[in-house]
Amino acid sequence: MSDIIKDMGAFHLDVLKEISNIGSGNAATALSQLLGKRVGMQVSRVMPMPFHEITEYVGGAENIITSVFLRFEGDITGNMFYIVDQEDAKRLVEDLAGLKVEDEFCEMSLSVLQEIGNILSGSYLTALADFSGLEMKPSVPSLAIDMAGALLSYGLVEIGKSSDYAIMIDAEIQAEGNEVQQAVVRKGKTGHFFLLPDPESFEKIFMALGVHGYGGN
């Protein structure tokens, strides 16, 4: 029996990439309005990855990241992470709220980060829902700053029931002038926008977009 995630064909991975571009494009627009700056976006990356590589992908399981997590239910279900590394998170708070962040985030800067995460992940999901016609009800997002392995593994629990692989749907947007990045694999400053649909949801996504059964597998 095949593993729907590990064995997904190139055509369907491309469809997911397009979905991610639409979501992150909308999030980029939202961030641009927040910051009053131009925000560019890169073409998304979509790839099936074994769990242990996912944490390597964000700089290693012990790498400290700032993450807003939410779960969505509805026609399709899954998890979403908005991840920024510490330095980029500090710069975002400074740019947006004029708060100078020293070593630790204060209460105020944490709620600014939480709000940024809410807005960006919300606009990402809204674009997805509009485009696909699928209903997605997001939970109240939750913010945490900790080791990447500890945070990301939480979002893999549902997927873990049926696979040891997750499809990394990863988007990057970049604000002009100060290199605010979401979802890049680059030395040093990295941040990611991860969409992790539950395995049962892939088929529903492809059905909704009319590409179910295309491309072979």
Partner: protein
């Protein structure tokens, strides 16, 4: 001396003088076994409480508490460990996000902790130390020379249990 790394939903064994470690435990639970007479250690990075949750065609034994711990014991015995001398320690099972499960279930971290304890009782392996729960991630490393388990977390003192 080598440091043997165990990934998420994985398990492995180590012998003196190597150490065995797993990084960034969140809701997952790291369970270590140690036979002090043979200096043989094992570590499982458990992700889910029960194989009943599995929807996969092929079962990854290391992923579930009820299949990982018997498998870890088997691997250690293969190396020469004596089951009645083995003692267990565990860490992890945190709740990383302040997020309520809509089904009203206990957090996955708590369920993992409980399931590991049940699996240990079934195997008759005593749990001699634990550092579980909370809302923060942990990295653990077991030293085969001493059987000491080191627990590291961000902005917290290193613990030896």
């Amino acid at each position: 001396m080598a440091v043997i790394k165990v990934g998420i939903a994985d398990l492995n064994v180590a012998v003196k003088p190597d150490t065995i470690t797993t990084l960034g435990l969140g809701s997952c639970v790291g369970v270590t076994f140690y036979d002090s007479s043979k200096k043989i250690a094992g570590l499982a990075h458990v992700m889910l409480p029960s194989t009943e949750l599995s929807k996969a065609a092929v079962l990854n034994k290391a992923k579930f508490a009820d299949s990982a711990l018997p498998e870890l014991l088997r691997r250690m015995v293969e190396l020469g460990a004596i089951p009645r001398r083995i003692q267990a320690k565990m860490a992890g099972g945190a709740q990383m996000f302040n997020f309520k499960d809509p089904s009203g279930q206990k957090s996955i971290g708590d369920r993992n902790i409980e399931a590991c304890k049940v699996a240990l009782r079934k195997l008759g392996i005593p749990l001699v130390a634990e550092d579980v729960g909370g809302n923060y991630g942990r990295t653990i490393e077991l030293f085969t020379e001493t059987g000491i388990l080191e627990v590291r977390a961000i902005s917290k003192e290193i613990k030896h249990i």
